[in-house]
């Protein structure tokens, strides 16, 4: 089931330029919007900015509808990404 259908707003984010994110979204056919945090301010606020590499670390934030952080997953693998996120969402009981 799609996360969006479960009533969860799902976003990917990186420091890529918006046009690169757009091409990447098209290429992957990802069903979720890819956000562009070009200057890294949001990544810094989330603590996921890797100063040495100049990119965001592969962290996933689960945010409750009250706006508070429920879980930070730092071990999600890129290959089983969707499945991992779904499993966490179910563990946390986030689905409406």
């Amino acid at each position: 089931m799609l996360l969006n259908e479960m009533g969860i707003a799902c976003f990917a984010a990186s420091l890529d330029k918006p046009e690169v994110s757009r091409a990447f979204a098209e290429w992957t056919g990802a069903g979720l919007p890819i956000l562009s945090d070009e200057n890294g301010d949001v990544a810094r606020a989330y603590g996921t900015f890797d100063e040495e590499q100049g990119v965001a670390s592969r962290w996933t934030f689960f945010i409750g509808s009250n706006g508070r952080i429920l879980l930070v997953d730092r071990d999600i693998s890129p290959t089983s990404h969707g499945g991992d996120i779904l499993a966490r969402v179910q563990e946390l009981g986030m689905a409406a």
């Binding site: 690169v20 509808s65 508070r68």
Partner: protein
């Protein structure tokens, strides 16, 4: 992610339909040599240099976003992109990315290097090393020189230097014995050893004289009581040369071993000295931490002041942890724990316990700061550094001959570091964001507050394999 491929819009499908270039067209256009278009390999530089379609430029996929403008200045020039084979998806990604960056006439050669080679297309290489062809005489001379170099005294000394003390002594003594028998057994006919004016006999006393003479020669000393006559002198010369080499190496080896013992002692003392100094410093950090901890519950102390003190102590702590890391991993100075295995594991344990206690105190202290203040620049940098150093210290990944206790302390430090930098913390309000999305809309966290949960998944870079 769940894959939902959007139906292409009409204009998109128009662009896509003319995108492919086949082998025939490509080879014809290369033959014609018209300069109106440009051929681009999106393979990594090494593959590009190993072999490419003639006249191609290189723009590796991962560099397109940054370097496209530099490599391909004209956005309206016809551009053909290729990679390794029909199975390789880099070219397709490259085409999409270039189009996204405003290149209007991008096409793909889907066959790639594989089809190009199979169908007999010419390949261009980058010659990385240009070798100077040497004239044949010189090469023969070189070979002779090399052979001589292998047999030179320098090479022999180098070889002897690599042998152990026992082996060297064995060879040296064996040489002495061998030559003793030679002097004793092969004498006669004007050649042989002479002692006190007459030839040494063939009896046991003759053998003992030969033995005495041979060992003295192997030690490169000559007492003048025995001398050699005839061709035997040549043998003596030979033994002297061998003795020089072997006995010389033996002596330098003994001295070198002693030097090593002294050096190890110096290392050990330096190590203990550093350990001691570090312990003192860490104790100071600890006492400062517990003092701040006392102020933490004191409402009279303003949070600003508290923050400054925590920032300061975190910075110093990070510095001390760096020293601990270097000490444990032998990072600098050569006097690492690896060199002094087990020498002082109790002291090391105490040191690591200090670090762990400090970390615990620090993580407790952070809870008394309001969360926005925790994330001030300097403090965050220090915490990040502490976490990194903690990860470096991590017991399970450091393959050092350390005792189990030290290892478990290192694991503990690693864990504590991890919780220290768990930012933003669970239960904290998620930082607000307002960012442009690939769907062309601007997304705000605020739009979902009170309505829907949000999952925000960060990834390093598009088009880099995940």
């Amino acid at each position: 992610m769940h894959v939902v491929r959007a139906e292409p819009t009409i204009e998109e499908s128009e662009v896509h339909s003319v995108s492919a270039v086949d082998y025939g067209e490509l080879s014809r256009r290369i033959e014609d040599g018209d300069g109106s278009w440009v051929l681009v390999s999106v393979l990594p530089r090494a593959s590009f240099e190993a072999g490419r379609i003639p006249g191609s430029l290189n723009l590796p996929l991962a560099e397109i976003a940054e370097r496209a403008g530099e490599v391909l200045p004209a956005r309206d020039q016809e551009t053909v992109v290729y990679c390794a084979s029909p199975a390789c998806s880099l070219a397709e990604q490259g085409v999409m990315l270039l189009r996204a960056l405003g290149y209007t006439r991008v096409r793909e050669y889907p066959g790639g290097m594989e089809e190009w080679t199979e169908r007999g297309g010419r390949i261009e290489h980058t010659v990385l090393v240009t070798r100077k062809p040497a004239p044949p005489q010189a090469s023969r001379l070189d070979r002779l020189r090399q052979a001589l170099a292998r047999m030179s005294p320098v090479a022999a000394f180098a070889w002897a230097g690599n042998q152990s003390l026992r082996v060297l002594f064995g060879i040296w003594f064996g040489t002495g014995v061998l030559f003793a028998f030679l002097y004793w057994g092969l004498g006669g006919g004007g050649a042989g050893l002479v002692a006190d004016g007459s030839a040494i006999g063939t009896g046991l006393s003759g053998l003992s004289t030969a033995f005495w003479f041979s060992i003295a020669t192997a030690m490169t000393s000559d007492y003048g009581d025995v001398s050699a006559l005839g061709w035997m002198r040549l043998a003596v010369l030979g033994e002297t040369v061998m003795g020089l080499l072997l006995f010389g190496s033996l002596v330098s080896k003994v001295l070198g071993n002693q030097q090593e013992v002294v050096l190890n002692e110096v290392y050990r003392l330096t190590y203990e000295n550093r350990l001691g100094r570090l312990r003192t410093n860490l104790h100071l950090v600890l006492s400062e931490l517990s003092e701040i901890s006392g102020d933490c519950s004191n409402p009279a102390v303003p949070p600003r002041r508290l923050r400054t003190r925590i920032e300061g102590v975190a910075m110093i702590f990070a510095g001390e942890m760096q020293a601990v890391r270097d000490l444990v991993r032998g990072g600098t100075g050569g006097a690492g724990a690896a060199g002094t295995a087990g020498a002082d594991s109790a002291a090391l344990e105490a040191l690591l316990a200090c670090v762990a206690a400090g970390l615990e105190e620090l993580s407790h202290l952070l809870t008394c700061l309001p969360s926005e203040q925790q994330r001030s620049g300097s403090l965050r940098r220090s915490l990040r550094r502490i976490a990194q150093l903690g990860a470096d210290l991590c017991g399970t990944c450091a393959a050092l001959p350390l005792t189990e206790t030290v290892r478990s302390w290192m694991d503990r430090i690693h864990r504590l570091c991890h919780t220290l930098c768990d930012e933003p913390r669970l239960g904290d309000p998620a930082p607000r964001f307002e960012l442009p999305g690939s769907d062309g809309r601007v997304h705000r966290l605020a739009d979902y507050l009170g309505l829907q949960p949000v999952v925000l998944t960060w990834f390093p870079k598009a088009f880099t394999g995940g």
